[in-house]
């Protein structure tokens, strides 16, 4: 047990360089795949595996250090700040796509339809018969006819699922704080189940879009914004659910105390973040 008064400074870090190599290999492989090289996908998969191994190794190391009590309160504050600002950077990432959607719907699509001064006048010559509106796949009818995604079917069910998962994760946190381990594990398990159910429903929604509604990533700017926003969100929900599964496993192994459970908190914050992003999506992508 290291002394609890000193700030823990690790002296050798092997995982960062391993993870970087894995990520770089994955990206280079993906890039080569996009360029049509035959070996691209192989390198991509190997790189991804190295990257996953890095996460497993690095997080195990952190879990061991935490359980041994090597991390004092001040280290915990650093971790919390790190997580907080990481989530902020993620918010900015999503903000790009929300802003793009706003700009397209409120400015550039009306301009394409000839509205306003300046840009509108020149586009009238190019796209004279285009009547702007939303949803749209543009004056070129890119991707062909499609049916837009409604809000009140699966998306609404998914909203309820994510909102309840926010409740269950908080209930689990209360359990942890009061040292009610059963409540902790039940709450986390419910959250994980709800999270993966969301992902499954989302996958089904995509299947329907592609096979029955003619709605694809290539369906003009409506398809682009719809799939990019919901797709990146779905990816984040998947990551969040995996993180929560790890936390569930650790809780089941007896990790975390009412005083020391940064990993739980970080995961819960991340989960609330994907939750809030979904509310934005439900309103701006599905509803309006």
């Amino acid at each position: 047990m290291a002394s609890n008064n000193t700030y823990y400074i690790p002296h050798k870090a092997t995982w960062p360089v391993v993870g970087t190599a894995g990520l770089m290999m994955m990206m280079a492989g993906f890039a080569n795949y996009l360029n049509g090289a035959a070996t691209g996908s192989t390198f991509m998969v190997i790189g991804l595996m190295i990257f996953i191994i890095m996460f497993a190794g690095w997080f195990s190391l952190q879990a061991i250090e935490s359980e041994r009590g090597m991390l004092n309160v001040q280290v915990g504050v650093s971790y919390r700040m790190g997580m907080l600002w990481f989530i902020f950077s993620e918010i900015m990432f999503f903000a790009v796509f929300f802003s793009a959607l706003w700009y397209i719907r409120n400015l550039s699509v009306p301009w394409l339809g000839g509205e306003g001064f300046g840009p509108g006048r020149s586009t009238e010559m190019l796209w004279g018969d285009y009547v702007s509106g939303w949803p749209t796949n543009g004056p070129g009818n890119v991707g062909g006819e499609f049916e837009p995604m409604g809000a009140w079917g699966l998306p609404f069910v998914n909203t309820l699922i994510l909102l309840s998962s926010g409740v269950t994760v908080t209930w689990a946190h209360w359990g942890l704080l009061q040292n009610k381990r059963k409540q902790l594990i039940k709450g986390l398990a419910a959250t994980v189940v709800l999270g993966f159910t969301f992902v499954a429903f989302q996958a089904y929604e995509y299947y329907e879009a592609y096979h029955e509604m003619g709605l694809t990533l290539g369906s003009g700017v409506y398809g682009s914004t719809f799939f990019m926003l919901t797709g990146f969100h779905g990816l984040h929900v998947t990551i969040g659910a995996i993180i929560l599964s790890v936390i569930l496993f650790r809780s089941w192994k007896g990790h975390f105390t009412p005083e020391n459970h940064f990993a739980f908190e970080g995961a819960a914050w991340y989960w609330h973040f994907v939750d809030v992003v979904w509310l934005g999506l439900f309103i701006f992508v599905y509803l309006l």
Binding site: Y7, I9, P10, H11, K12, A13, T14, W15, P16, V17, T20, A21, L23, M24, M27, A28, F30, A31, L34, N35, W58, V77, S78, Y79, M81, W85, F88, S89, E90, M92, F93, A95, V96, F97, S99, A100, Y103, I104, L107, S108, V109, L112, F117, G118, P119, T123, T136, G138, P139, G140, V142, T216, L217, G218, G220, V221, Y222, S224, F227, M228
Partner: protein, 538 residues
């Protein structure tokens, strides 16, 4: 004098690893700082070589040495390498070395992540450099990657996109680390308003980075999907808009240029008081001015796009908002001048670079003000005038201050004094040649010479030739800098420096209370006395 925790290494029990492994697995902020600085210096010469290809081609009208496509690649890669490979890593390197020492912390808050942000940088730089050898050549659409032009890039496009992702991850991790360090690791008594300005400016820079790097990542992701996955974000036929990319890019791009200038301000505010032998004039106003500049940088982006087609209300708003930046920047320039006023100034190399910075950066700032005027910008847009403008704000500002910082702190890091005579020679060669290089570009731009072209009309020949001569003098002068740095690391003039190196420096900042060279571990127990001289009158 030196309130040193002697025998620190023994007490801590951890020296550096042996051999090459030390540099791969290190979590020590000084090691990582060194890695960043060495990388930045190497990339400075790579980017500089690219600049000399550009200037060689432009020495005379007509096509001399390179194909137009390769010329455009050089323009693009010079910018990317200098921004993401040289200037930003150099400042991160200085942050790593100095922030923990300046605030009395034992290391950065998240040492393992610190290591990872460095290697992510290397991965990103390898990725972007590899495009030089690809089918279709390196990206050639300018560092701004405007669609639709950039979508015509060959095999390099996905590599460039992923390089941006890697560099973004690196910067975000670095920035998070700096914020956690500053907010969580300060020694008792080191309140926010007692921090050295370098720490302050870096903290604000770190917030900028966290806010903007994901934006750039999102923008290039949309380029990737537009090219490979049939999306229509920037394609009007599908309902998208190429101008949307420009808006997103410059929402990132404008704060990004402040990422390169705010730490510059911080270092100038650190060095000038030392050699003027006076406290910094207006410490508090410096902090608020930095924060104001950072805030304003988020609401002025469309001044890069005045000619793209915007409602008049937009042009007016972005014009006036941009002009506002002159106010906090002016506060800073007046503060530096007032710091020197009636000071007992001496003119060692760091101070010379700082004075040149104050004068030449002010000039770059004024041309910025000229371009902020929307109707006038229709004449300047995409000409050599803008090239002259931003090089004045980057080369004799950011680069000069990086030189100043090197001369200022290198004796502290190594314990050896640099050769003052050679450093002065380096200064005068740089300061004169940088003006020969960039000043004529103002005339070229006002006369209408467009940027990013390999050939030009004969009426531009004279000034281009002069500019190119200046470029080669400036470029080769930097080899002298390399020589001085290596010589200093290997023993310098043979003169060992004292703990505070510069007269009374310990009154200004904590690093000078420690021995020179700085021990491998510092402030394992926090300092008890916090310097306050830089605050003035306290």
């Amino acid at each position: 004098m030196s309130a040193v925790i002697a025998g620190h290494d023994e007490q801590h029990g951890h020296g550096p690893e042996k051999g090459i492994l030390r540099w791969i697995v290190t979590t020590n902020h000084k090691d990582i700082g060194t890695l960043y600085l060495v990388t930045a210096l190497a990339m400075f010469f790579v980017g500089g070589a690219m600049a000399l290809v550009i200037r060689a081609e432009l020495f005379e009208p007509g096509l001399q040495f390179v194909e137009p496509q390769f010329f455009n690649s050089m323009v693009t890669m010079h910018a990317l390498v200098m921004v993401f490979g040289a200037v930003m890593p150099a400042f991160v390197g200085l942050a790593n070395w100095m922030i923990p020492v300046m605030i009395g912390a034992p290391d950065m808050a998240l040492p393992r992540m610190n290591n990872m942000s460095f290697w992510m940088l290397i991965a990103g730089l390898l990725m972007i450099s590899s495009t030089l050898f690809m089918e279709g050549g390196a990206p050639a659409a300018g560092w701004t990657f405007y669609p639709p032009l950039v979508l015509q890039t060959g095999n390099a496009l996905p590599f460039a996109v992923f390089a941006v992702h890697l560099l973004g991850i690196s910067s975000i991790m670095g920035a998070i680390n700096i914020i956690a360090t500053i907010f969580n690791m300060r020694a008792p008594g080191m309140t926010l308003m007692k921090m050295p300005l370098f720490v302050w400016t870096w903290m604000i820079t770190a917030f900028l980075l966290i806010a903007i790097m994901p934006v750039f990542a999102g923008a290039v992701t949309m380029l990737l999907t537009d090219r490979f996955f049939d999306t229509s974000f920037f394609d009007a036929a599908g309902g998208g808009d190429p101008v949307l990319y420009q808006h997103i890019f410059w929402f990132f791009g404008h704060p990004e240029v402040y990422v390169m200038i705010l730490p510059t301000f911080g270092i100038a505010s650190t060095i000038i008081p030392t050699f003027a032998r006076k406290p910094l004039f207006g410490y508090t106003s410096m902090v608020y001015a930095t924060a104001s500049i950072a805030f304003l940088s988020f609401i002025v982006w469309s001044h890069h796009m005045f000619t793209v087609g915007m409602p008049v209300a937009g042009e007016l708003y972005f014009m006036y908002a941009t002009m506002l930046i002159a106010i906090p920047t002016g506060v800073k320039v007046f503060n530096w001048t007032a710091t020197m006023w009636k000071g007992s100034m001496t003119f060692e190399a760091p101070m010379l670079f700082c004075i040149a910075f104050v004068v030449l950066f002010t000039m770059g700032g004024f041309t910025g003000l000229m371009m902020a005027i929307a109707p006038a910008d229709f004449q300047y847009h995409d000409t050599y005038f803008i090239v002259a403008h931003f090089h004045y704000t980057l080369v004799p500002a950011s680069i000069f201050i990086l030189m100043a910082a090197t001369y200022y702190w290198l004796p502290k890091w190594t314990g050896n004094m640099y050769d003052e005579r050679l450093a002065k020679l380096h200064f005068w060669l740089s300061a004169v040649s940088v003006n020969i290089l960039f000043f004529p570009q103002h005339f070229l731009g006002l006369a209408g010479m467009p940027r990013r072209i390999p050939d030009y009309a004969v009426q531009f020949a004279d000034w281009n030739m002069i500019s190119s001569i200046g470029a080669f003098i400036f470029g080769f002068s930097q080899l002298l800098f390399l020589y001085i740095v290596i010589k200093t690391i290997r023993g310098g003039t043979g003169e060992k420096v004292t703990a505070e190196v510069w007269e009374d420096a310990r009154k200004h900042s904590l690093e000078w209370t420690l021995p020179s060279p700085l021990p491998y571990h510092t402030f394992s127990t926090p300092p008890t006395k916090i310097p306050t001289e830089h605050l003035g009158g306290h």
